[in-house]
């Protein structure tokens, strides 16, 4: 074992320059002609695909062009840009021990195989977000959404995830909140805490709304999703009492039962029992809130852990199936490349023009602030080597982006008439095929009521005004799967996709409520220590009830909003998520300044500036726009004035709905404004530090000093022959040391 008695290269005090002078940089091997040829080929494929997408108009465009354009771009970004960030900007240093190595405790901190950690990280970051946003954004055509998903992830989303992970790793795997408190100060810290909690509440409400919209008046869906609860409970009991620890076998049983539950839902749909499971959105809201509360106070082994196994396997399985399905089915894009709604901002799915609203509608998949909460605190506790930050942080986000690209494809292979009939609120379609056909005609698309009914019959549920994104995606997936794997199972595939989304959403709600409960207990615990004791039932229950109550209320607001909950709340969620990204990127820029890494500060600063411009423009429009379709307060004013004049404005149908619109829009407006103000407070706090750092050249940070690493592990997805040899030698040496000490 290398015993280094001198100061290791790159060791520096907290205030010192970044480690890794020229001598320490990884010695890049000269590229072989073969590798040059391969990368030229990838670049040519990517360029060709983008050119086709950009130039082909008015003829059939295969969805595979999008798929290959995205994949080629990811490969190039990973190979070149992430490597540049890893080697030149962050100067990842494998001679430094990671927190997992230094603080290994066998539970939280644990040196983890890079590929396994990639799976853990991906399972934690990818949920329903990258599936829903792109579907809604498809109202502007396939091209703007695709470009933002791919460019956004390469330059912003993956950079944020990787850089946050790096900084957390260099600070004993501290959470985003802790780092902000320590590096920015108390003001920033408190603002960040409030922002994170509030944003999480909106996130949970919107996710729950997606499930409610997908299951309303759909006995098949209700039965299939409802059965996941007893299935998860059974798995929990199995793992706890029958055969502890046998996760693989119980997951296999669980997946089998899930497929059975989907089939059983079909049986119920066509039986006399169907009406018993035909639930209204209001009933589903109550059920969701009760479920959320109970699930968050039950022991994790009963429901959360087993369902997490199911959702992880479903996630990986469906993504693989979708990629294979797309290649086999080679569907043609039905949507235009760019629809008129991109310019006029009058689309029925969400209001506002391409800039800034496309960029907040597609959050997850391009840039998602929520990832910063996973990339700090959770994942860094398990990183074996510093170099793995590139693969896990940057690479993990590229995979999520791939999911988003698949989702936009699935939404764009649907007949546009059907797409708009599904995604327009019931207030404008009247909830009937005739009403929807008429409304869609006013948008400039044609679909007959008979065609709509036929589509609905093919999946055995009413598709008109089934907003929320999940049903549209499920329908697109069912088309692709039917084409790829044989027809006759369209309805089964539809509910399979609905279940796949509902599974992660339920897991996110359960886990999110729990995290919210811990945050609340921790915060109140500062003034009332007893409340912070997480094993004290009254506190745990009160904090869970407060968290569930908060998102349950927002969910209710969404469900009962005559203007359509998704239309009203999704922008709030999207902006909130992007504001969280602004907070995370602000921290990154601050740390670059404090470290004195001025040369490369553009790496996090460019995405930060872009994100601030987008979120602040969107927030400004949502608060101050005098267009009632966009500005929350303008909307409230319009409905208030009409109400006072004794009128009822569509889509409201009675006076009480007018009150609802006025109240909801005002609440949304205030939330929107306060989120933006919180972020501005954090940025202003940080800007003060940037100036101080610029004057001083650098400032002390809380980076942990260099400790030599003993762990040997390959750096990237595929190990080179030398890396394999080094690992073998290291393991043999450890074996010997262990033998000698016995």
């Amino acid at each position: 074992m290398a015993t280094d008695t001198t100061t290791p290269p790159g060791a520096s005090g907290p205030a010192g320059p970044p480690p890794g002078d020229a001598a320490k940089r990884p010695t890049g091997r000269r590229p072989t002609p073969l590798s040059i040829a391969i990368w030229v080929l990838v670049a040519v494929v990517g360029a060709t695909c983008w050119t086709v997408l950009a130039l082909h108009r008015g003829e059939d465009v295969s969805a595979l062009w999008i798929l290959f354009a995205a994949v080629a771009s990811y490969l190039i970004a990973y190979r070149f840009y992430s490597k540049f960030i890893a080697n030149r900007v962050l100067r990842l240093d494998d001679t430094r021990a990671t927190p997992a190595e230094r603080l290994e405790d066998g539970s939280d901190f644990e040196v983890t195989d890079r590929r396994v950690l990639y799976g853990h990280h991906f399972a934690a970051i990818a949920g329903a977000g990258p599936l829903v946003g792109p579907v809604l954004a498809a109202q502007m055509g396939y091209l703007p959404g695709t470009i933002w998903i791919v460019a956004g992830v390469i330059l912003a989303g993956a950079v944020q995830d990787m850089v946050v992970m790096f900084f957390s790793m260099r600070r004993d795997a501290k959470s985003l909140g802790q780092m902000i408190r320590e590096e920015l100060g108390v003001v920033g810290g408190v603002a960040a805490l409030i922002a994170v909690y509030a944003i999480m509440i909106i996130l949970l409400a919107v996710l729950a709304l997606v499930v409610v919209n997908a299951l309303a008046e759909s006995p098949w869906g209700v039965v299939a999703i409802g059965l996941t609860i007893p299935i998860a409970l059974f798995m929990g009991v199995y793992l706890r009492f029958l055969r502890p620890g046998r996760v693989m076998e119980v997951t296999a049983i669980g997946v089998f039962l899930l497929l059975g539950a989907i089939a059983l839902g079909g049986v119920v749909e066509n039986s006399g029992l169907a009406s018993a499971f035909e639930l209204t959105p209001e009933t589903l809201t109550i059920l969701m809130v009760v479920y959320g509360f109970v699930a968050s106070i039950l022991p994790v082994w009963m429901l959360l852990t087993p369902r997490d196994y199911l959702s992880t396997f479903m996630k990986v399985g469906v993504i693989l199936l979708l990629a294979i399905g797309l290649i086999l089915a080679r569907p043609v894009l039905q949507t235009e490349a760019v629809t008129p709604f991109a310019g006029n901002g009058q689309g029925p799915v969400f209001a506002g023009s391409l800039f800034p609203f496309l960029f907040i509608t597609i959050a997850c998949g391009a840039l998602s602030g929520f990832h910063a909460l996973i990339s700090s605190g959770t994942t860094p506790k398990m990183i074996a080597k510093e170099s793995h930050v590139r693969m896990v942080g940057y690479g993990g986000m590229l995979m999520e982006s791939f999911v988003a690209v698949s989702a936009i494809i699935a939404a764009c292979v649907i007949d546009p008439g059907l797409y708009f009939a599904m995604n327009s609120p019931a207030g404008v379609t009247g909830g009937t095929a005739e009403g929807a056909a008429e409304f869609v005609r006013t948008l400039g698309f044609t679909i007959t009521p008979d065609q709509l009914n036929a589509f609905s019959e093919s999946v055995e549920t009413e598709l008109v005004s089934r907003t929320g994104g999940a049903p549209t995606l499920a329908f697109g997936i069912s088309l692709i799967f039917s084409e790829a794997f044989g027809s006759g199972m369209t309805a089964f595939w539809y509910y399979f996709a609905i279940m796949f989304e509902a599974l992660f959403i339920l897991t996110a709600i359960d886990a999110g409520t729990r995290v919210g409960r811990f945050m609340l207990q921790d915060t109140i615990g500062n003034v009332w220590p007893k409340f912070g004791d997480t094993s004290w039932r009254p506190a745990a229950w009160a904090a869970s009830a407060a968290t569930t109550g908060a998102w349950g209320y927002m969910l209710y607001v969404g469900v009962t909003d005559p203007l359509g909950g998704i239309n009203q709340l999704f922008p709030l969620f999207g902006i909130a998520n992007q504001l969280l990204a602004a907070i995370a990127l602000t921290l990154c820029v601050t740390l670059f300044c404090k470290h004195g890494w001025w040369k490369f500060v553009w790496v996090p600063a460019v995405p930060l500036v872009w994100d601030l411009v987008v979120t602040m423009t969107a927030s400004y429009q949502k608060v101050f726009s005098d267009n009632p379709a966009i500005g929350y307060f303008a909307q409230a004013d319009r409905y208030r004035a009409a109400r006072d004049a004794g009128e009822v404005l569509a889509p409201a149908t009675e006076a009480s709905q007018m009150d609802t619109v006025v109240f909801n829009s005002t609440v949304n407006g205030f939330l929107q404004a306060s989120f933006a103000v919180l972020v501005l407070v954090i940025v202003a706090n940080a800007a003060w530090i940037w100036v101080k750092a610029a004057r001083a050249g650098s400032l002390p940070t809380t980076e942990v000093p260099h400790t030599p690493s003993q762990v040997v592990a390959p750096a990237d997805f595929f190990a080179t022959a030398q890396e394999k040899e080094a690992v073998r030698a290291w393991e043999a040496e450890r074996e010997q040391t262990a033998g000698a000490s016995r």
Binding site: G106, G129, P244, D308
Partner: protein
């Protein structure tokens, strides 16, 4: 061909066991053996693990 398939299947199985944490038990046994201590029963070990998860909720993103 069969060896290749077998290697792939073994790889997938290894990955799934690691990802779900099922393999943690094997690591624990190996650690106990290395340290010369008597391991707890699997039931006890798994309870220990779930209690830990209880106190440390994992985030699941959007």
């Amino acid at each position: 061909m069969t060896t290749l398939v077998r290697r792939w299947a073994a790889g997938v199985r290894w990955y799934a066991r690691e990802l779900t944490g099922e393999a943690r038990w094997d690591d624990y046994l190996a650690r106990c053996e290395r340290d010369g201590v008597a391991p707890m029963s699997r039931r006890e070990y798994e309870r220990h693990r779930s209690e830990h998860l209880e106190r440390n909720p994992q985030r699941r993103c959007c």
